[in-house]
């Protein structure tokens, strides 16, 4: 018996199993046909009744497999692709390291002996020839390793410290000046809050990558939202044709859409429906512009024996890296020529050498290009209701005012300070001269005045002038709930014995704070807008930007319209300028009342604009998170892309010398915390708020862990090092004033 035939039968059986698995009960006719043919042949092999040329027969079966696979590949659905990327037979990062790169050394751990075996990091080498010369080009390969279902790899769900390890080696690559190839094979990050924190570490990674001074190429197979973004902010984003890139797993989306309670499961139809409507495939994302290129996989997805695919992949990552390097060159003509040469289909990049080293100036251009690339994404996915005239005027005004503001703050202010100092000095001299000259006259005047009953006695017994009576200040805005005559029970009454509070006291004078234990009941966004900032100083901008339904997600049009109706605002993010004791700041407020404070393209648009405005005007920038449940899932990747986008905006603002503060209130979770909020060096929380990556239900669902009560409470976040302080709601104004005066960058107008 030929051992080889057995092996090929086993391989075909695996192919068949794979096919059956990924279609999960669909296409049974096709799989049945293949199974019949294969098993008939296998039984003949067992019985020894093979015909004259078993290899020919085997080949014809293999051809049939190929034929059926190609045919089925044409009607593959989004959910099939989800099953493909999750299948243990799917290619893994180690397969890529072995087949795409010429040599590699695993760093930062080895197999299960690793800080986090889900995150694999290797220093890899690509050998290229040019003429007779051989060049070796080093890259840092970073990615999640699913390990064909090996349990210790945790399915590529990376823990916070795994992402920290990735960031560490990205910095190593930066130091060494070698490009980074990141491979995204993750269903999502492991939602654990321990330091460095799932959300906070992802935020740090995105922030770091937004300014990393080496080319970054990302290849996505399974792009599960936050986990993917942790290593996904790249100059070129490639995607495997059978991969998916999504805001949430279809199951998770189905659970939310179907209002599934803990312990229940969404129906397969619902999951399929969500997978379809979330537009998670490579083709969708290319259309949206969130990836740059699709790498074609073999029918039904790449498996470790698809060696042709690895060759393609190698060409693609080399091309992408070369292109990034070329695009940093200055001379446009040469750049175009080089790029054209590269894009010729017949070119073999292994036989062409382009140095991946960059000059400091080229690195600047690289980073700028990357940042601009992300800033320009998804802008079309919002409804911009500003009239054309207003939009163009605004753009012109921005364009015209920029040099003026630059002059005002960078040149005039500096010199003004110097002039002022000089004038003051002169003044001091004059005063002391005057007092010396006039001393005799003063003494004479003094001798005329009666002694005894002097000013100090009057000060101690007479009414003094007192202008700023902070204690007497009434709240400018009261929660409408104060009108209802009812008692409210504090959630801590069981443990602390708080008596019931009378609603009209609680929601008016007490500012929603339990007077026994200090528990903060949630308040409306308006409360903050009216009570934190100087009265009448709030000036909203970009209110016309409207949240829409960019994916045309079924029934979502009505739901978003209902949210607008309910809140009276057009998106979940209100951006405004306001004063705190005369100091102007720019605020982006995420409103928990608008669809749970979910964050989509419109919110991202406004957030980025607000950051730009703050930078232009040299104002401090406050992200006040009244509440956010995460990225708006019904917007799919239009939402996810806001994570890197807004982080880029924030990084540019911080690096321009601003002061970026985040203040969390009520519940702040998921995407926004794991990106543009969590990356702020100054994060504060209002008491009784919850901060985290995933809620308790999701943690239980994805990890099986039972989390302790109050796991996400701000006090825990504080002790984990995620935030800097916890504020009392009634003190927000005073604390903001204090922070404005004491922290932040060099470029603030009031300094």
């Amino acid at each position: 018996m030929d051992n080889n035939i057995d092996k090929r039968i086993v391989a075909l059986r695996e192919r068949l199993d794979y096919l059956k698995d990924i279609f999960a009960g669909k296409n049974l006719g096709d799989s049945g046909l293949l199974e019949d043919r294969l098993e008939a042949f296998a039984s003949r092999v067992r019985e020894g009744s093979l015909r004259d040329d078993p290899y020919a027969e085997l080949s014809s079966i293999e051809d049939l497999f190929g034929h059926v696979e190609r045919r089925l590949d044409k009607r593959i659905t989004a959910m099939d692709k989800v099953r493909i990327v999750r299948h243990p037979q799917r290619i893994c990062l180690r397969d890529i390291l072995e087949n795409v790169y010429d040599n590699f050394t695993e760093v930062g751990g080895q197999d299960e002996y690793s800080l986090d075996p889900g995150m694999l990091i290797a220093r890899a080498v690509i050998m290229r020839r040019s003429g007779k010369k051989t060049y070796s080009q080093a890259v840092m390969v970073i990615g999640q390793e699913k390990g064909h279902g090996a349990e210790y790899r945790n399915g590529g769900s990376v823990k916070p410290w795994g992402n920290a390890k990735a960031m560490q080696y990205m910095h190593v690559a930066e130091t060494e000046g070698i490009p980074i190839h990141s491979y995204i094979f993750t269903p999502g990050a492991y939602p654990i809050e321990d330091y460095p924190g799932a959300a906070q570490q992802i935020a740090r990674n995105i922030y770091g990558m937004a300014g990393l001074r080496v080319p970054i190429i990302a290849v996505t197979s399974e792009g599960g939202s936050g986990g993917a973004e942790a290593i996904g902010l790249a100059d070129r984003r490639l995607m495997l044709s059978h991969g998916y890139y999504s805001v949430i797993s279809p199951e998770g989306a189905a659970a939310i859409e179907g209002h599934i309670k803990a312990g229940e499961r969404a129906t397969p139809e619902m999951i399929e429906h969500c997978a379809e409507n979330l537009h998670i495939t490579a083709q969708d994302n290319l259309r949206f512009g969130y990836i740059d290129r699709i790498i074609e996989e073999p029918p039904l997805g790449a498996r470790p024996w698809h060696f042709d695919f690895f060759r393609t992949l190698r060409q693609e990552v080399i091309r992408a890296t070369d292109e990034v390097v070329i695009s940093t060159r200055i001379v446009p003509g040469l750049r175009g020529l080089a790029l054209n040469r590269h894009r010729a289909p017949e070119v073999n990049l292994d036989e062409m050498h382009i140095s991946w080293a960059l000059s400091p100036a080229a690195k600047d251009r690289l980073v700028e290009k990357r940042q601009q690339k992300f800033l320009h994404l998804s802008r079309y996915a919002v409804r911009d209701n500003r009239p054309l005239v207003a939009r163009t005027t605004q753009a012109c005004l921005d364009w015209v005012s920029r040099p003026f503001l630059n002059f005002k703050y960078d040149i005039y202010r500096k010199h003004q300070r110097r002039i002022k100092g000089f004038v003051e000095e002169i003044g001091n001299e004059w005063e002391s001269f005057k007092s010396r000259m006039l001393a005799p006259w003063r003494n004479f005047k003094k001798s005329l005045r009666p002694k005894g009953e002097d000013k100090s006695k009057l000060e101690l017994t007479e009414l003094s002038a007192w202008t700023d009576d902070a204690r007497q200040r009434r709240w400018n805005y009261l929660s409408p709930r104060y009108k209802i005559d009812r008692t409210v029970t504090c959630p801590n009454s069981e443990s602390y014995g708080c008596l019931d509070l009378w609603g009209p006291d609680l929601y008016a004078e007490f500012a929603g704070v339990c007077s026994y234990c200090g528990h903060h009941f949630p308040m409306e966004p308006e409360w903050y807008v009216q009570n934190v900032f100087d009265k009448g100083s709030v000036n909203e901008f970009n209110a016309e930007i409207e949240a829409g339904n960019p994916l045309s997600f079924p029934t979502f049009d009505e739901r978003i319209a209902a949210a607008k109706e309910k809140t009276g605002s057009r998106s979940g993010c209100m951006t405004f300028e306001a004063d705190i004791e005369g100091i102007k700041i720019v605020v982006a407020m995420l409103m928990g009342t608008f669809r749970g404070g979910s964050f989509g393209a419109a919110e991202g648009f406004k957030f980025v604009e607000a950051a730009k405005r703050a930078a232009r005007k040299r104002c401090a920038f406050l992200a006040y998170v009244h509440g956010t449940a995460g990225i708006r899932i019904q917007e799919g990747t239009h939402g996810v892309i806001q994570m890197p986008r807004c982080t880029v905006a924030v990084r540019r603002y911080i690096e321009a010398g601003g002061l970026y503060m985040v203040l969390y209130d009520t519940n702040s979770f998921a995407g926004p915390v794991a990106s543009f909020l969590g990356c702020s060096p100054y994060q504060f929380a209002v008491r009784s708020s919850n901060i985290g990556f995933a809620g308790p239900g999701v943690i239980k669902e994805t990890t099986g862990l039972d989390i302790p009560p109050k796991y996400h409470r701000s006090y825990h976040a504080l002790s984990r090092g995620h935030i800097q302080a916890i504020w009392d709601r009634r003190q927000i104004r005073a604390n903001l004033k204090q922070t404005l005066l004491t922290i932040g960058g060099r470029n603030l107008y009031y300094r």
Binding site: L460, S464, P504, D505
Partner: protein
């Protein structure tokens, strides 16, 4: 607040039988309120807790109002429960007594602003709030030229300014010839003795200031600090103010002297009037001081349109300088001693609690200041189970014998039953009885006081068999120095 923005209130004579007053208190004050209600023909609803089952006020409520007028609650401190009782019983007004909710403007506001509105028998909540704030009161006084304790009248946030003020308070006292000047630093948002410290050495000030400031920031979220002279040698006087709901014509019921106190500054003997310039020698013009503090108090009451009974508390220094201390926007324990010497239109038997209820419900005063006269001297003893020798430590146990010699010049207010043993509840202050003695002059009042105290039998044992301790001997000893500065 200016007088213009207050609406003019037109009084309408209340129909007493239409009202039902929730007596939101316990002990002797609850009993006095119930009796006053009975007198006025107003229904009442009483409350008690499990610990107070045996208290006299429960028995009296059953006797005067029947079992339906009595509700058991879990705490006297839970406003929600009180409101539930009031609604169930159909109360139209709430009398807070003293303590508990008496000076809680939020409670008063809740009573008057809730969906089923009731009358709060006390000043309107805005006045309670206005006068409950010590800075506000001090500034109001100063704006009317009423003398207040020398020092700051607004919270000081700036360290330099604080030091400058402290320095001038020290200097001011030296100018006045005070040997050991003291400066008081207190958290402006504080109260009840928290966040207060004395400074005797100017060099020490800065560290005390910083300590109080950070305490205030932690405790009250406001680092404002008040800096005042600490007056050591003084008498504690009070002016009893009474006004109808219009607040236009406040009148006074004379003065009281409450200088005999426990070490913890709790009053033990109160005397009306505040001084006895006819019988005793003073180093200052005592009569003038009394006139002044009454005038000052009335001026302030008129200014805020004070609209119920209240007490202006004063300290009078040895030099005869009065300083306003605070305003108690409630009926006080010692109201009876003022009533005992008051004659309205020549008649005695004045009951300030009954006046408070009547005016609170919207009745007109019915007489003028000119018709209020005073006659004789009243002394009120607070009989308390405590050990004056051991720092007035409360004594807890069972009272077995409690009796005294009745006399026409004696009024006793007590919730302690005399016909059966009584276990003193540990939850509340161990005040047992108030004895008010009247005499035609100070000497007679003192003699009668001693006579009463001599006739008093108060015996009991605690769980370990020790005999009851009371302050009766302390009261006897101190009777001699009544009204002496």
């Amino acid at each position: 607040m200016s007088k213009q923005d207050k609406p003019t209130i037109v009084l309408e004579k209340p129909v007493m039988s239409e009202h039902n007053i929730l007596v939101a208190n316990r002990g002797e004050i609850a009993m006095r309120i119930m009796r006053a209600c009975r007198e006025l023909g107003v229904a009442f609803t009483a409350i008690y807790t499990a610990e107070d089952e045996a208290s006299g006020h429960v028995a009296l409520a059953r006797e005067l109002g029947g079992p339906k007028s009595l509700y058991r609650v879990s705490s006297y401190h839970d406003a929600n429960e009180l409101m539930a009782v009031a609604d169930d019983a159909g109360c139209t007004a709430v009398h807070p007594g003293y303590g508990f909710f008496a000076e809680d403007f939020r409670f008063a506001r809740r009573v008057t602003k809730r969906d089923r509105k009731m009358i709060f028998i006390g000043p309107s909540w805005k006045i309670i709030r206005e006068l409950g704030d010590k800075i506000n009161t001090k500034r109001l006084a100063r704006s009317l030229g009423v003398p207040t304790v020398p020092g700051s009248d607004r919270p000081i946030y700036d360290e330099m300014e604080a030091e400058r003020i402290a320095k001038s308070v020290f200097e001011y006292q030296e100018q006045q010839g005070i040997k050991h000047p003291l400066v008081l630093v207190k958290a402006s948002a504080g109260g009840g003795g928290m966040g207060i410290e004395e400074v005797y050495d100017p060099d020490q000030f800065r560290s005390v200031y910083r300590r109080i400031r950070s305490y205030a920031l932690r405790q009250f979220k406001d680092e404002g600090v008040l800096i005042e002279q600490r007056i050591k040698d003084f008498n504690h006087l009070e002016v009893q103010i009474v006004s109808d709901r219009t607040g236009r014509h406040p009148i006074h019921f004379g003065t009281r002297n409450c200088s005999i106190q426990s070490t913890g500054r709790q009053k033990r003997i109160e005397v009306a009037p505040g001084f006895a310039p006819d019988t005793l020698e003073y180093t200052f013009d005592a009569a003038k001081v009394l006139t002044n503090i009454v005038d000052y108090s009335l001026a302030m009451a008129a200014k805020v349109r004070y609209d119920n009974v209240g007490t202006w508390e004063w300290i009078v220094t040895r030099a005869g300088e009065p300083f306003l201390m605070e305003v108690n926007t409630r009926i006080q324990v010692e109201n009876g001693v003022s009533a005992s010497i008051s004659r309205v239109a020549g008649k005695d038997g004045v009951d300030l609690i009954s006046e408070q209820i009547r005016l609170g419900l919207g009745d007109t005063l019915g007489y003028t200041q000119a018709e209020v006269a005073s006659e004789g001297v009243g002394v009120e003893y607070r009989i308390i189970a405590e050990d004056p020798a051991a720092n007035f430590t409360p004594w807890v146990g069972k009272i077995e014998k409690f009796s005294w010699q009745e006399a026409p010049w004696l009024t006793m207010f007590t919730h302690v039953p005399t016909d059966r043993p009584y276990e003193i509840p540990t939850e509340f202050d161990p005040n047992l009885a108030l004895a008010i003695v009247w005499g035609k002059d100070l000497d007679e009042a003192k003699a009668r006081g001693l006579e009463f105290l001599a006739s008093l039998t108060l015996e009991g044992r605690n769980a370990s068999g020790d005999a009851l301790r009371s302050n009766v001997s302390f009261l006897k000893e101190n009777t001699e120095r009544l009204l002496r500065f």
